[in-house]
């Protein structure tokens, strides 16, 4: 984000400051704020006020019917002791760990495979991006069908003489299947960023490395990966922020089950707030999740910023 570079530059012909000038300036300012007003109202009403509110609400006990009761920080203890939020965070982390590395490796692998134009590779690029647009809820029910005990996957395994599990109702397989569904959905989307990143690396760097006797693997390690760091940062940051909030596919594929094996953080927040109507606890969960996502994002920026040292003029 090169925002810092875009400071105000006052331009043009030095006109003498006249009354007409200030009136004009005032009019420009008024127009500017008219243009800005809708989005600014949106940001204040639907982003800033809710953020302040969620902190306030996390300190009360409230079911939206009876008056609020101030309880201080006790919600932050209770969500871990009684609402299984610790479990939800572990489950969410497990999902993120299943999801992000595989998705990133496959996205990069596919990008490298499809980088050079062969007949058909353009078509595959397009096909791989289609899932990105596809309604996650609709895809979720399709995966339910494909992974049901007598579905395609188990029919296929049956041909190989293997009895497949009940994928979505067994503890060990439910989360990996959900992770698979999300990897399938977003791998092509992330591939596009890697394609753009790879395309920006000058071929001369590889030629120079080859002249120095670098093997293909060394070229990948010493040229490709370092130069892809900005892309990697973007893909990882957006991927992690997104997967910490996973909801749609979980809701339709397992709804947190079996038991609470796949009750991710957002599903716990949803259940606490909208089936239990315990607004205080749900807000406390939201605050904790926010802090975790924020901390991980900051760490990722730190790690990559330290290492982005290459600049191609």
């Amino acid at each position: 984000m090169n925002v810092a570079a875009t400071t105000t530059v006052l331009t043009k012909q030095q006109k003498p400051a006249t009354i007409r000038d200030t009136a004009e300036r005032r009019r420009t300012i008024r127009t500017a704020f008219t243009f800005l007003a809708p989005s600014l109202i949106g940001v204040i009403l639907f982003l800033l006020i809710p953020i302040v509110m969620v902190i306030g609400l996390s300190l009360v006990q409230w079911n939206m019917l009876t008056p609020m009761k101030w309880v201080g920080l006790s919600n932050f203890v209770n969500i871990f002791e009684f609402d299984g939020f610790g479990h939800s965070l572990v489950v969410t982390a497990y999902y993120v760990i299943l999801n992000i590395p595989i998705q990133t490796v496959f996205a990069l692998g596919m990008a490298m495979l499809l980088l050079r134009k062969h007949a058909g590779s353009g078509l595959i690029r397009v096909i791989a991006v289609l899932p990105f647009l596809s309604t996650p809820v609709a895809m979720g029910v399709i995966w339910n069908w494909i992974f049901n005990p007598s579905g395609l996957v188990n029919q296929f395994l049956g041909h190989l003489g293997i009895t497949g599990p009940a994928w979505l109702s067994s503890d060990a397989t439910a989360m990996p299947v959900i992770a698979f569904a999300n990897i399938w959905q977003y791998v092509g989307y992330n591939m596009l960023f890697f394609l753009a990143g790879l395309g920006a690396i000058p071929l001369t760097l590889y030629e120079a490395a080859a002249l120095d006797g670098a093997t293909k693997w060394e070229q990948f390690r010493r040229v490709t990966l370092p130069l892809l760091r900005p892309t990697m940062l973007f893909v990882l940051v957006t991927g992690v922020i997104g997967s910490f909030q996973v909801f749609d596919t979980v809701y339709v594929m397992t709804n947190g089950g079996p038991g609470n094996a796949t009750e991710v953080a957002s599903l716990n927040i949803y259940n606490t707030a909208f089936t239990g109507f315990r607004i205080g606890e749900a807000s406390a969960m939201s605050v904790v999740l926010f802090l975790i996502i924020l901390a991980i994002t900051v760490v990722q920026f730190r790690y990559f910023n330290k290492r982005i040292t290459y600049e191609i003029a």
Binding site: I29, L36, L133, W145, I146
Partner: protein, 296 residues
Amino acid sequence: MTSAISAIPAAKAAPRAERPPQVGKAVRLTLFYLLLIIIALIFILPYLMSIFAAFKPLPAILAQSPLRPPTSPTLSNFSTLFSQYDFGRYLANTLLVTVILTAGQVIFSMMGAYAFARMEFPGRDSLFWLYLMTLMVPNIVTLVPLYVLFAHSHLLNTYWAIFLPYVLGVPYSVFLMRQYFMTIPKEVMEAARLDGCSEGRILWRIIVPIARPIIITATLLAFVFGWNNFMWPLIVTNSNSLSVLTVGIAYFNSNFSVQWNLILAGALVALIPMVILFAIFQKHIVNSISLTGINR
């Protein structure tokens, strides 16, 4: 799609040659296309199988392999959805809400982006930073307080509730367009101002035509978001007449758990418009996604 798939075997056969130095290359190319076919199948099969199934009666879905096309395709699943259940209503609701959300979000974000990019006013840079900061806020965090706000404004169970939080312009879209507007030379606008053009006219007549690629991108992103949005409509509506497709599909999924014919046909009602959108705009979508990544 089919034309290029049929082109693959031809391309695979072409480089096959007897001379030893070319054998390695032929093997590599064969492997390459094998991999490509596997990747294509992984991405296409789920769509293909659910299309097959949506045109079969339930007994055929249960008895046949999902890979088998329907022998006598039937529209009965879809007609059941639209006549006995409210899928027509869900589809109309989704379309209405998504179109309003998209139009508002694009126009208002565009106006904000123009103010940030090419107008001078006090506090501009700090306000822009404020917008950027809100990009870091995950949706889930504002969910509960937003619900409380809407409940207190008596907006629950209205169409307004479904699109209001997104219709006034969103920081991401403002940011995206602002970055693009910054690349348009200032002189263009200054010349228009000297000619007495109002700012609204400049935006509409000069900026919009130049910035078409990014505006189409913002429009597509908003439309896809609105169409696929699930959690928020699920929370703020609880009457069937206001349900959008995603909520309707989820309801079907939990209440008709073995009627795959209806569930899959319902999923396709949501998916097919997206596939059509993609078919029309695929080049643009593919290019613009990369664009959004580099801009950040």
